[in-house]
């Protein structure tokens, strides 16, 4: 790997050198957008918080002040969760798209979040798991098993499978797994009452401690993803070329599976199954930076929380109650999917 990439970096590529600072500078507006989305998420809600108040109570928490309580008990946990779950889902989607070379891949569409949430529901219903620090392991395991299954089905053919076939397998697998989940939930009204908000995909249900408990795992997943981007670039040339260039596609897939399980499992354990963020963020990133996995992942880390945050804010203001963010992302993301299918050549094969 390094033997090949090192001279490539030493060469002055015709377009590469001037573009790299461009991409770095291009991140600045994204950072700004992300901050705006996160700030909005702190301010907007059933009790609107003015910017001045927000700044004051963020810097000087005052437990006696109701607004401070709103900020610290509701808005800050939500916003941290948006940041973490968004980045996790965005990068998980980018990883899945890169490893499967399937532009329609997304943890939600391919059933990985459904697998993770089934595992959580089973853990809650039959194994007396109650605490997030224990049911996150169920979520990781569920995400891992489901992604292994989807990958296995997608790659089981002698010829590399088409994106559509893999998407269909994932969707059907997801349908089966959510069928199991609803069977468990329907036969157990206590769990249904507790988990039905979560099962729609929401940022509102977790305390800050739960989110922070999952943070190291998501960080590990992000790190693994960012470290494997160079190999993913090589893999994008095709399996045979990648092997010829010294990459190890199987090892790479295993590493990616681990990262996807950590990221999608972690996001699902905290926020429930949220779809389409992993589809939209990497595509947006690719539109901006082009086919370069390292930059796609980096930009996705910024773009995904932005999209998730805006969707969450939209869900809070659109009706009197609150629409769970998973519903909003589906309503934003499904048209994107349909647009992609209508426009692209994915389905022409």
């Amino acid at each position: 790997m390094t033997a090949i990439t090192a001279p490539a970096r030493a060469d002055p590529p015709a377009t590469g050198v001037p573009r790299v600072p461009g991409r770095l500078i291009g991140m600045l507006p994204l950072v700004a957008f992300c901050l705006v989305a996160l700030t909005l998420s702190m301010m907007v809600g059933s009790r609107a918080v003015a910017p001045g108040e927000l700044l004051q109570f963020l810097l000087h928490p005052d437990p006696d002040e109701p607004v401070s309580q709103v900020v610290w008990q509701s808005r800050v946990p939500r916003t941290v969760l948006i940041l973490l779950a968004g980045a996790a889902l965005g990068v998980a989607g980018g990883l899945m798209q890169a490893v499967t070379r399937n532009p329609l891949a997304d943890p939600g569409i391919l059933g990985v979040t459904a697998g993770a949430s089934l595992a959580v529901v089973v853990g809650l219903a039959f194994f007396g798991v109650t605490d997030i620090s224990s049911y996150m392991w169920w979520s990781f395991a569920g995400a891992l098993i489901t992604s292994v299954l989807v990958f296995a089905i997608g790659n089981s053919g002698a010829v590399r499978s088409s994106p559509v076939r893999m998407t269909l397998s994932g969707v059907a697998l997801g349908a089966v797994l959510s069928g199991f989940s609803s069977a468990v939930l329907l036969s157990n009204s206590d769990i249904l009452a507790r988990m039905r908000g979560w099962s729609a995909g929401t940022t509102a249900s977790q305390p800050l401690e739960a989110t922070l408990a999952i943070a190291p795992f998501i960080a590990a997943g992000l790190l693994i993803a960012l470290c494997s981007t160079r190999s993913l670039d090589v893999l994008s040339l095709g399996e045979a070329s990648a092997v010829a260039m010294g990459a190890h596609p199987q090892r790479l897939r295993l590493v990616a599976l681990l990262a996807i399980a950590l990221l999608a499992g972690g996001a699902t354990a905290t926020a429930g199954p949220i779809g389409f963020i992993g589809l939209m963020a990497p595509h947006l990133a690719r539109m901006i930076v082009g086919p370069h996995q390292g930059w796609i992942m980096t930009y996705s880390i910024l773009l995904a929380p932005t999209v998730l945050g805006l969707a969450d804010v939209l869900g809070r203001v659109i009706v009197a109650g609150e629409v769970p963010v998973g519903v909003v992302t589906a309503f934003i993301g499904a048209p994107v999917l349909i647009y992609m299918v209508r426009r692209s050549r994915v389905t022409e094969a």
């Binding site: 559509v164 059907a172 697998l173 069928g179 939930l185 209508r342």
Partner: protein, 365 residues
């Protein structure tokens, strides 16, 4: 009816231009102008499947929390049994069993039509998500408008039809609907509707959500004779139309240019197929809630049993009926105290079958 192997015809008494089907056929009518030609294997498979279905139906009618002998059941069905047996057999169990058989046929036929139309074994109405749209319609009626069961049926029917229309309009590009695009658009639309369903259920109380969830899982309990007769009438029309459509669809399956060259109105056939396929699924979903995987699995199982490619409506319908009845009998007997909705059993069976199908296709390819 005579059996003949048309492929081995040197010993034929008169040299006659017989069509070589390449497989055993049953013929009704004269040799040179047969009225009806039936595939021998298909006929045998159908006979075995229907026999199994009838046996299972008798088992379903006689066993359960109240044990009834076959002779008692038969006398009750002919209206000469005692009150209790008549009520259990004729009012509770018989309509449920018949409904399972009928809807199994409907769902399987619909699946067969869609799999042919999309040219993809996964392009069945439950994957494309028309049933999600039906559930949305039913939920809106049940939880938002507060309607009764007849209104719920109407809502489910409307929801399914509107969803189908939306999916088709969205997947038309340059005036043509391509199978794969249809499927992915369907997935997108059903993802949206599915999360809308979750949200509608969230706004309701837990009790209402469980009630709606049970409907949404697909439930055959509480079927009455008037409902059955209504569904029978409507589905008979659709199934007859599907039978008429089988031949033109076979031609379309060979290839659209080929069918066009032979003078077939391909577009008309496709539109008719969509209307009938959607109608059958929407009817079944409106009656008992979304039951998935019958439409997906039945045509594929039938294809493998009969060794034909494409639309084998008869065997498909037989497989569908047997599957749904089997699933319902299983669902009632897993937990006799709290019977499961049949849809959950079909999801479990169907899911396992589906994984096997994908793995197997992957290996053989």
């Amino acid at each position: 009816m005579t059996a003949e192997r048309t492929s081995t015809g040197p010993a034929s008494p008169r040299p006659q231009p017989t069509v070589d089907f390449g497989r055993r056929m049953y013929r009704i009518g004269p040799r040179d102008r047969p009225m009806l030609l039936l595939d021998a294997r298909s006929v045998r498979v159908c006979a075995v499947l229907w026999a199994a279905t009838i046996l299972l139906a008798f088992y379903a009618i006689t066993s359960g929390s109240a044990q009834i002998t076959v002779s008692e059941a038969l006398t009750a069905l002919f209206g000469r049994g005692d009150d209790y047996t008549t009520m259990v057999v004729a009012e509770w169990r018989a309509p449920r069993v018949l409904m399972a058989i009928l809807l199994g046929t409907c769902l399987a036929a619909s699946g067969s039509i869609f799999q042919n139309l999309t040219g993809n074994p996964l392009g069945s109405p439950d994957i494309i998500g028309f049933q999600t749209g039906s559930f949305t319609g039913a939920l809106i009626v049940m939880l938002v408008l507060g309607g009764g069961s007849a209104a719920t049926m109407a809502g489910a029917l409307t929801g399914g039809l509107v969803t189908a229309l939306l999916v088709f309009v969205l997947s038309i590009r340059r005036g043509a609907v391509r199978g794969v695009r249809l499927i992915i658009v369907g997935i997108g639309v059903s993802a949206m509707l599915g999360s809308a369903n979750v949200w509608i259920q969230l706004t309701a109380t837990v009790e209402d959500a469980i009630m709606a969830g049970l409907w949404g899982a697909g439930n055959l309990s509480g079927v009455t004779w008037p409902t059955f007769l209504l569904v029978l009438t409507v589905s008979a029309a659709f199934l007859a139309a599907a039978t008429l459509l089988a031949r033109p669809m076979k031609l379309t399956r060979i290839g659209v240019p080929f069918a066009t060259a032979l003078g077939q109105k391909v577009r008309a056939v496709q539109v008719a197929a969509v209307v009938i396929g959607v109608g059958l699924t929407a009817l079944a979903t409106a009656t008992v809630g979304p039951i998935s995987f019958i439409a997906l699995a039945a045509p594929q199982i039938a294809r493998r049993l009969v060794h034909t490619d494409g639309l084998a409506l008869g065997p498909t319908a037989a497989v569908g009926s047997l599957l749904l009845l089997l699933a319902d009998v299983t669902a009632q007997r897993i937990h006799p105290d709290s019977p499961l909705p049949v849809g959950i059993v079909t999801v479990c069976i169907g899911g396992l079958y589906f994984l096997w199908l994908l793995m197997r296709e992957g290996r053989t390819r």
